[in-house]
């Protein structure tokens, strides 16, 4: 939670720094930001590669467990596409934002680079709110709908920030599904986000 607040604070300081002319606006318009993004992606990859224990993951995989990230993906896309169509937003932009699955840092950085600063800001807020929503409403979601909708609603955050609330309400049997769910979604985020950004006008 402190990390989320720090991220939001740094983002707001960034907005204020150019809005109040503390730093010149042309600094952030340079092409070198793109190189910074590539280096960032490489470091994210290093962390994924060094963290992942492939044999353990493959052993934990059951067909029914694999359905969890599929349900999260399909449900999220259906939901954001409905919002896009009813509110008159560009559907591919909504899908790119939804494809963050709560992984607000990576998705918003990618979207702001490839689709523009405004969709990037929406992605940051929407994906942060997703995490907050699950943290706040976990008991209600569990009581009304059961453990599976609670786990899926957490998206990428089910292996870290929302894991404690999921285990508290759904039970410790959901530990392995929650981690596997988040790992698969985490891995899919950069692919889905760049894919939907490439389909935007």
């Amino acid at each position: 939670m402190i990390d989320s607040l720090l991220i939001l604070a740094v983002f707001i300081v960034g907005v204020a720094s150019t809005a109040l002319d503390i730093i010149p606006a042309n600094i952030v318009k340079a092409d070198r930001i793109l190189y910074a993004l590539w280096i960032f992606m490489f470091i994210v990859g290093l962390k994924v590669g060094a963290d992942s224990n492939l044999s353990e993951i493959i052993r934990a995989v059951r067909p029914r467990l694999l359905m969890l990230p599929v349900l999260t993906t399909l449900g999220t896309y259906a939901g954001v596409a409905c919002v896009g169509l009813t509110c008159g937003y560009q559907v591919f932009e909504c899908l790119a934002i939804g494809a963050g699955f709560g992984y607000y840092s990576l998705s918003s950085i990618l979207i702001s680079q490839y689709a523009g600063a405004e969709p990037g800001a929406v992605a940051l807020l929407a994906n942060m709110t997703r995490e907050l929503f699950v943290l706040v409403f976990a008991p209600l979601i569990y009581r009304l709908l059961g453990p599976m909708p609670l786990l899926c609603s957490g998206g990428c955050t089910t292996s870290d920030t929302t894991l404690p609330v999921i285990l508290r309400y759904a039970g410790s049997a959901w530990l392995a599904p929650a981690i596997l769910h988040a790992m698969i979604l985490d891995f899919s985020v950069p692919f889905w986000v760049t894919f939907f950004c490439s389909l935007m006008d």
Partner: protein, 103 residues
């Protein structure tokens, strides 16, 4: 755009190859520092764009609606799947034994 994915894949392969060395490095902290730097830049780009700043309330509404859509759609999909699984389990247990998933 595909350069970003290429860098990610190269990073994953390098991470798997250099696992022994990398586990000793504070990679999580390095990624977090990179995230903060890039989000500062993202914020600065937004601050430099007066059109976005004037439109900030619409950005908030759009983000809120998309959150509702994403979470609502996900919960509905998972609830339908859980209901379908529970139905299949009840058919396998005609005496009405409650399975773990039914709870």
């Amino acid at each position: 755009m595909f350069w970003a994915i290429g860098c990610l894949l190269a990073g994953i392969l390098a991470g798997m190859a250099l696992k022994g060395i990398l586990v000793r490095l504070p990679l999580g902290h390095i990624v977090f520092a990179a995230v903060l730097t890039l989000l500062f830049i993202m914020g600065a780009q937004i601050g430099a764009d007066k059109e976005i700043l004037n439109n900030i309330h619409n950005i908030g509404i759009k983000a809120f609606l998309l959150t509702l859509g994403a979470v609502g759609g996900t919960m509905l999909a998972a609830w339908l799947w859980a209901a379908w699984l529970a139905r299949g389990d009840r058919q396998k247990c005609p005496r009405g034994e409650r399975t773990r998933r039914d709870r």
